[in-house]
Each structure stands twice: as C-alpha cells, then as structure tokens.
Symmetry: C2
Subunit: 357 residues, 2 copies
C-alpha cells in the first residue's frame, strides 16, 4: 500500500527545510505526483505543500481528487492562491522546491510569492529519495512491464510484408492502452532495416521487407510508473553478421547484469560492457549509456553510464540496454527492465529475445 507519510519522512530526513512546495504543470511534474501520491489527473497549476506529517494540495478545482492521504483546498484565483500559500507557510523559514522540475521563471515567481523566506533547491534530494522504490512502486512498475510483455506477444503477429513503421507504432500504442496501461510511457520507436542504426529513429513511411532488421522500443505507463523495453530481430533469415551482432548484444546484457552487486556503482556495468563490446569486431559501435533508472519517469534520475557514482541498493529499478549500430546494416538493441531486490537482480520484462522470426 502507498503511504505518503513514509515518503515525506524520507524527504524531510535528508533535507533541512520546514516545508516543500511543488507546482504541477503540463507535462506533469514527477515530484508533485511523488509527494501527493496522486496517480492520475491533470492538476495543471496546482501546488502541493508538504510538511513532515502532512501534504496539502492547493487545487484550481478543475480536477477530481481521489485520496485519503492528502488534504485538499481549492483556490479561486492567483490572489487567493498567494494568500493560501502564505498562510500555510507562515511558520516556515526554509522552503524547499524542486529545482529540476521548477523553471527559472517559476522560481522567480515563487520568490515573489514567498518574500522573506529562504528557498532551498532540494531537487536532487527528491530524485535521490525516488531512487529506491518502495513495494508499491515496484508493483506498479511490474504491472507496466507485464503490459509491454503482452503487447510484444501480440504485435509480432502483426508483422507483415509492406506494413509501415508508423502503422506498427500506432498498433503498439493502441495495444498498450488496451492492455490496461494508462498510456504509452514515451513515443514508440519502430525502425526497419538501416533505420534501426539511428537509436532515436522516428517511425516513418518505410515499409517492412523480408530480411529487414526490426527494432521496437516502447513502454507503458501504469498509475504513473513506467516500463521500457526494446527488441530487435530480423524479419526473415538473419545473416551471419546480424546473428553475431545479436549474440554480442545479448551477451553484453548478461555481462552488465552479472556485474551488478550490492554496493556496485551504476557506472560499473556500463564500463564493463563497453570493454566487452570494444573487444569484439563491433568496437566503437555501442554509442550510448548502458541504461537508466526507471520509475515515475522513463529516465528517472540516473544513468547506468560513465561517471555515475550512485550505488545499487535495495529497490533500485533500471534498464539494461546495450546496442550495436552499423550505419550500412542497422542496429541491434536489447533492453529489459530489472529491480535490485534483497541483494539480487530480478528481471521484470519477459518478452522473448530471438534474432529472427
């Protein structure tokens, strides 16, 4: 079960502020949903004011609030909002705000609203608190993973000669919602043939032909939490070079996974995989980070990449997604979601990995 109090305690134990104010916007601000525990709704222009023992939502009144854990107060206009914010924070000297989610201009607005108080950027602290997921969060991520597994299972039936990348992307995103997710987690990548060599390819009018590499990278959002999966395979027979790419990438994922132990830095599996791939004939063809944490955001704060000194610990959820990209052939990337739990790495996505279909 979700308990907002636990989250607030966590935040206030690592920060030295009297309250925390997070404004929501469109697109939604993760820390707003983290401290209110709300799992849907727009809540554009609403403010969450959090104390060690309670959270107050100042709402514009356009949304329906379904929560026993927070107090709700509607404001009528910006003057009313200002009055309510000042009243709520009147005993506070230091006010925390999320400097990662708050724009420079909203920060200036906040300064005017709370004149005389000290504003403290606790953005990094909130990200840090979100790093280790609680049971509720892991369960939501697990469900988001279940959705993409099922979508993958369905979507391979829709592969046929002449289908466009764009059409496949539409099908994937429809299936994601039909399988119970609230939405896609991000714009799906569907790349055929050489297009798969562009890691961030945008699905276009390219039609599927026998012998093409098919790269599918998509994710689901469930009650705010995301999954993120990539599968790559040949539509038809894979030639030896592509088979070798596939084997190297799959092996790289295993090597990355095997590197992870309690206390290991997030950059270590990345560095290990770079060394491995650079020792194969695909030297220099792995051109991005090995992965990233997942949660309320697809990139939830940290990369499994060079320079990331955070360490694996209980409840960390992340992707491992090595890839090899050859401009003249295409790319192979294999991405799964994992949780580090009780000293062990558990895989959360289970769609099959095959090199040809």
């Amino acid at each position: 079960m979700l308990r907002i109090r636990d989250r607030l305690e966590k935040i206030f134990s690592v920060t030295d502020v009297d309250c925390v104010i997070v404004m929501n916007k469109s697109p939604p601000v993760s820390s707003f949903f983290y401290i209110t525990g709300l799992s849907g709704g727009l809540f554009e222009g609403c403010f969450a004011v959090a104390f060690r023992d309670r959270c107050v939502l100042l709402s514009a009144g356009l949304d329906y609030v379904k929560s026993d854990e927070i107090e709700v107060d509607n404001f009528k206009n910006s003057n009313d909002l200002k009055k309510k914010l000042q009243e709520l924070t009147k005993a506070c000297k230091k006010v925390g705000f999320d400097g990662i989610a708050t724009s420079y201009s909203d920060y200036q607005k906040l300064r005017r609203l709370l004149r005389g108080k000290k504003l403290v950027d606790i953005g990094k602290n909130i990200v840090k608190c979100r790093f280790n997921k609680d049971d509720y969060e892991i369960e939501m991520i697990r469900r988001a993973c279940r959705v993409v597994d099922r979508v993958f299972d369905k979507i391979i039936d829709d592969l046929k000669d002449g289908v466009k990348e764009k059409e496949m992307a539409i099908m994937i995103e429809t299936l994601i919602k039909e399988h119970g997710a609230d939405d896609k987690a991000f714009d799906s990548i569907v790349a055929f043939g050489k297009n798969s060599a562009i890691p961030h390819h945008v699905p276009g009018n390219r039609r599927l032909r026998r012998g093409d590499i098919v790269l599918l990278d998509f994710g689901a959002r469930y009650k705010g939490y995301v999954s993120d999966i990539t599968r790559s395979f040949v539509y038809g027979k894979a030639d030896d070079r592509i088979k070798e790419m596939f084997d190297v990438v799959l092996r790289a994922q295993q090597i990355g996974r095997d590197t992870i132990k309690e206390g290991v830095k997030l950059e270590e599996p990345h560095n290990r995989v770079v060394r491995y791939i650079n020792g194969t004939r695909f030297r220099g063809k792995f051109i991005h980070s090995l992965g990233h944490t997942i949660g309320l955001e697809v990139h939830d704060g940290y990369r499994l990449g060079k320079g990331c000194k955070e360490i694996f610990s209980n409840g960390v959820t992340f992707t491992i997604e090595p890839g090899v990209y050859l401009k003249s052939v295409g790319g192979i990337r294999i991405e799964d979601d994992f949780v580090f739990l009780n000293g062990r790495v558990k895989r959360l996505t289970h769609a099959p990995r095959f090199s040809e279909i």
Copy 2:
C-alpha cells in the same frame, strides 16, 4: 515555406542578446523546435545555439537531422559539449536563454558552462514571437484541425450502449494517428453523465447509458503544431435543461467570437462571456478561462482570460471554449480553434455542434 532566418530575425529584433541557447529535454521544449524548425525527433539533451543569421544544433548524435536550414555538430561527451558551446559563444557577451523552459538547475548548469557571460532570460520574448503565427505555422495548425474534424466524424459512429470512457479515449487516440497526425496533442478527455461536470475528468470505467451527456475533448499534433476541440451532446434525447445549457454555451462562443476585433485585448471576450453567462440561470457555473492561444503548445503562452492584456493581431491562433458545469447534471463545453487573419476571425475546426445524437 518555413524560414528559420525570419524567426531568428524576429527574436533578435525584440531582444538585446548576442546569441540564444536552448537545451532540449524530454518532454520536448517548444522554443528549441521553434528556433531550429525541426518538426520531430527526440533530440534529448541537444542544444540549439542561435545567432541573428544562423542556428547551430549541438547534437548528441542519437537522432537523424533532416534540415537544410540549420548547421549540425555532434558532441561526444559533456566536456566536448562544453568546449563546443564555449567556442561558439566566444564572441558573445550577453547570452539569451528560455527561462520558461529552462529548469532552475539547468540554469545553474548554464551559468557554470558560460562563466563570465551575462545570461538574460528571454523566455517571455520567445513566447511573444510565437504569438503571431506565420503562414507555415497556420497551415500546420489547420492540418491538425482537419484531423480532429475527421476523427469526430468517425468517433460518433462508435458510440454505443455500454462502451467505457476509457475505450472511447483509446479509439480517439488511435484515430488521431490513423488520420495522419503525429500524435495526440494531450490526453483526451472522455466524460459520460455527471463526470462531464469535472472539466479535467480522466476517462475511467464509466459505461455509456442512454440519456448521458457525452463530453469529448481532444487534440492532434501535426509537425509539432496542435489542434484542440471539445464537443458535448446527449446520447439520446436532451431534456430541456441540458438543451438550455447547450444553447447558452453555443451562444457564449458566438458572443466571444463577435467581441474579437483588431486591437481588442485577449481578456475582453472572456469578460464579455462571463457577463453573458452570469446573466442566465447558469450564473457562476462557467469556472475557467474562455480559451487560450494554440501553436507548438496546447496552451501556447496566453489565455483568453481575466488579466490578459495582449491584443488580437494578425496570425494569432486560439480556442474559444465556454462551458457550464452543474454537479448534479454534468457539463457542456464547446470548443473550437480560430485564427485572427487580415482583421477577421476564421474558424479552423468544423465538426458539427449538436445537442443530441
């Protein structure tokens, strides 16, 4: 045709800076796409550096760039990025940044990257430049409007006893993409019965019954530009009260539209409509702004709302969306998109408005 140079000239004519730096993120930053003219792709972590006569994209190399109008340079890592940024801006004393899109923490990063230079927040200036759309932009918005018209035409065939709000939302969003848009512009609102009284209702498991109000609010994104439409009607026979709500709201939209002339402030149609609705039996039941500008964002900078002193002028694109909300009955909102062009208001969305079906 899109001409980046014209946009840059516009920006540099209203600001006093030597260059402008905009970093893109996920979700995408509108001003990044405005000054680069890119119409798709992720470009996460990429920087646009714009001068009066050219725009340079510093790319992380994960995206494919399709543009003759900008120069592209790939950076390898954050040190390389820093070097390239400093080299590009070495003759610049004042560097403009978008304080509305740049987070407080990215602003601090920018300060470190460009030590010794004066950073100037020109966020409001860029929004102001985007206020008056050029022909290319109006055409893209027109196309996005055409999509929602067609989707509405299709979706009314899918209304049937027992269909869930959620299911309708999925159908709408699939149709949006099948009709040539790149994506939905925002999460669709589908509200049946009393749920329609919540302006920002999130589609749920409520099933459609005869006599329900149906409120559909959705939009399409085409090459970055959006449309936004709302229709409300009864599934079955509308009773007299709902008919009256519908008539008042439709009349309110017409009154809003008729108020708009060259030089009129954006708040005027809103204030006029508030007075009109408060003179009917639905006094106090119109609880939001009359509309907002549309463009690269759904709320593209300005509201047709209290206090907005901007004036209607050539190329302004906006919604007019009065509504009346009764908790015990439901809500009626009618929203269309318009452009102010050559001294006249032209409607861009043409889906029929009817009170029952």
